[in-house]
Symmetry: C2
Subunit: 232 residues, 2 copies
């Protein structure tokens, strides 16, 4: 069933969602779709062509109690979209785009608002598609100096340094944490000064295995492994 996130408690949708229902899904009177607002799912049956509906059923859904923040170095558009879409599917609670020394993207602060709007749309659509009860938040673009002030029970720095512990050892030793932040560097990794600063500020350097993962692949693999560790 198609799912949409409402803007308010009277279950108003975005215009683009109404367009999707009518023009893309071609729904008619009698068809049913789901609307989510404030962690409640409403099964709505269309009662006429002006999007009047009756609520057939409603039930509360819980978001994961564990918060997982993905902080990733700015990437080219397609790869960045990919991190947001797949990261949403695999359960990221929020995303922090990072400006790093080796970022391939020169970030234009003037475009931040329009970028955030675009990124939030990707997260919203991915949440609807994977039937998450919530939409991950895309935080404003940060520098490493801002990132180190974000609090968390466990701070993970993904690295290619083979001397680092693997993520399993670190997660099993920290299996009580409710808030995890994972930071992923740009292609080629962070510069030493950046890694040093992160580690000095409580980040634990971990590997995800032997293979050198692309910057857009690593967050999805890390999220999958964290989900697995906490799977019951």
């Amino acid at each position: 069933m198609q799912r949409y996130f409402a803007k308010d408690e009277s279950l108003t949708l975005n215009d683009s969602d109404y367009h999707h229902i009518k023009k893309v899904m071609r729904m008619k009177t009698g068809d049913v779709y789901e609307v989510v607002y404030d962690n409640v799912v409403y099964k709505c049956k269309i009662t006429d062509n002006d999007f009047s509906y009756e609520i057939l059923e409603k039930y509360k859904v819980e978001s994961s109690k564990r918060e997982i923040i993905i902080a990733f170095s700015l990437l080219k558009e397609q790869k960045l979209d990919y991190v947001l879409q797949k990261g949403t599917e695999t359960g990221a609670s929020s995303f922090i785009p990072l400006i790093t020394k080796r970022s391939v993207i020169k970030f234009d602060k003037g475009k931040e608002i329009s970028k955030l709007k675009r990124w939030n749309t990707i997260a919203k659509e991915a949440s609807e598609q994977c039937f998450r009860p919530d939409i991950p938040e895309i935080k404003k673009v940060m520098t490493i100096d801002e990132l180190i002030n974000v609090s968390a029970d466990l701070k993970i720095l993904l690295t290619l340094n083979e001397k680092s512990k693997n993520i399993k050892k670190v997660l099993q030793k920290n299996n009580k944490c409710d808030k995890i932040i994972i930071v992923i560097g740009p292609e080629g990794g962070f510069e030493d000064v950046e890694e040093k600063k992160l580690i000095e500020n409580g980040f634990v350097s971990v590997t995800l295995g032997k293979n050198v993962l692309r910057a857009e692949t690593a967050p999805i693999v890390a999220l999958s492994m964290i989900n697995y560790e906490f799977m019951r």
Copy 2:
């Protein structure tokens, strides 16, 4: 360092690789690249402009002893490429493209050889990029009836059926297996008759969690979770 897979034990590369070294990487005399052949890595130093080289160092690398086969329903080109590239990064041993009832792609048998050539190139380049010592094999396109005859210690069917066990329970109960096959259905999942046939033939139906993953995301998540389970 750049890595290439050789065609033979005299470390001959594909023409496209020589082009990459010269025109893309712009390597000159004195530059060093890695060549892999038969699980041995050779550090090669260019000694002149005609790709003569001296071997500075060679060492053996082992591929994973555990074989993981990803059988996935044919997808649109971009998504299929994505499964091959990310699946290679996350350690798939081989891939089996499947014809299923709900495949969005109508497979043209006449184009199979050219498709396989293209798919193998994607796997080779992904292996070079992630520094795998081996290139996963792309098997010929199969039907479900052919797939059920592929042997494995553990056969996993990824499903959206919430009543299924989660993958962690299944892997922990089967943590001795050396050959695992994972089958992923098309968007919308397999038809009941297909799932029934797979289960009757030894496939265990498992979930990867609550969210409904896209057909191209599920194999990467499953591979990541298997890597995590067997991480030491």
